[in-house]
């Protein structure tokens, strides 16, 4: 029997959060963490609340803190997460809890909105599409794959301390995705908005974001590229 400890908190009725223990029979199978949550909800306690949708690591809904490390419950196998037959599930750190494992992502989305995550090009639109060379298209690899699960930003202490001012690794990865896009014409305006002491420069390169990204992306490297672009622009 797997020992599962789940963070429970209903801000409307509970004075403080608590951990609730469950014994789950996995039948020796190497299930995904989401499967265990589904079993708890179906067989033990229907009130356990969490987000999930695609259950295959594409939608980014079920980001959780799993045995101390952020990850997507649907693609994290028990063999990767469980230590000493114990599985501890908490909500993503640093964001307000709506209920149990569900967090309020408003601050995260506000930072994403701030970097204007859309192509800006004022030249007349061509008849079919704006073309890129294969080399220019390759510059977007490792950037466009982000699914906005917030695992990276909520593992970043700088985002915990200044969630209203530091864009965070997810937002900055997307900022660089548009800075690196050969079709985008707003490079200077984008960089001008990142030049303050908080938006980019609160990153101290500790690479928690790289460590937890379920898609294997590298926000720290993207942030380094943004710094280089800011330096080149100023030089």
């Amino acid at each position: 029997m797997l020992q599962v400890s789940v963070y429970r908190f209903n801000p409307e009725t509970d004075a403080a959060p608590q951990m609730q223990e469950y014994q789950v029979e996995t039948g020796g199978k190497d299930l995904m963490v989401l499967d265990v949550l589904e079993m708890i909800k179906a067989e033990h306690d229907a009130s356990v609340t969490y987000r999930r949708s695609c259950r295959e690591g594409v939608c980014g809904s079920d980001g959780l803190n799993i045995n101390g490390k952020n990850g997507l419950a649907c693609i994290t196998p028990l063999s990767d997460a469980v230590k000493k037959n114990k599985l501890v599930l908490r909500p993503l750190p640093g964001l307000p809890v709506v209920r149990d494992l569900v967090v309020d992502m408003s601050l995260f989305y506000a930072q994403y909105e701030k970097i204007e995550p859309y192509l800006q090009n004022n030249s007349p639109a061509p008849a079919i599409e704006r073309l890129q060379t294969p080399e220019d298209r390759a510059k977007l690899d490792g950037l466009y794959e982000c699914i906005l699960c917030a695992c990276c930003s909520t593992s970043c202490p700088s985002f915990w301390w200044n969630p209203d001012r530091f864009v965070g690794p997810a937002g900055l990865l997307q900022a660089y995705r548009f800075l690196a896009d050969s079709r985008d014409q707003a490079t200077d305006e984008r960089l001008a908005k990142l030049d303050d002491p908080f938006s980019v420069f609160r990153c101290h390169g500790i690479q928690n974001c790289v460590n937890v990204c379920p898609k294997g992306l590298n926000p720290t490297r993207a942030i380094g590229h943004i710094r280089t672009m800011l330096l080149n622009r100023a030089a």
């Binding site: 700088s158 301390w161 200044n162 209203d164 303050d196 002491p197 938006s199 420069f201 609160r202 710094r227």
Partner: protein, 119 residues
Amino acid sequence: MVTQVTSFSRNGLSDWLIQRVSSLILLAYFLFIGVQIATGIDYTSWRALHDTTAMKVFTLLAIGAYVSHAWIGLWTVFTDYLTEYMLGSIGNVVRPVLQIAVVLALVVYAIWVIQVIWG
């Protein structure tokens, strides 16, 4: 509310660059002083070393680097941990008071060093 009014240069890129350049100057200075001490030095040669214009300029450069490095570093620490978000409204009192105290102390150090080497 945390603002950048008390940051060293009011600009993230400048602060970031100054922090790195100043760390290299301080590293060079302390390595140089370390080598002098390790190879054996008495008062006469120590005094002679610091009487040279090159050493005075180097020391002045080092104290400038020290002031800017400490200002930027501590400003970052204070605006991370001593905020309204972390401490409640008291954070908006504690942080500026400490920031001003640090800046005053750094300016005093700088004047003191200038007086020692040029006085």
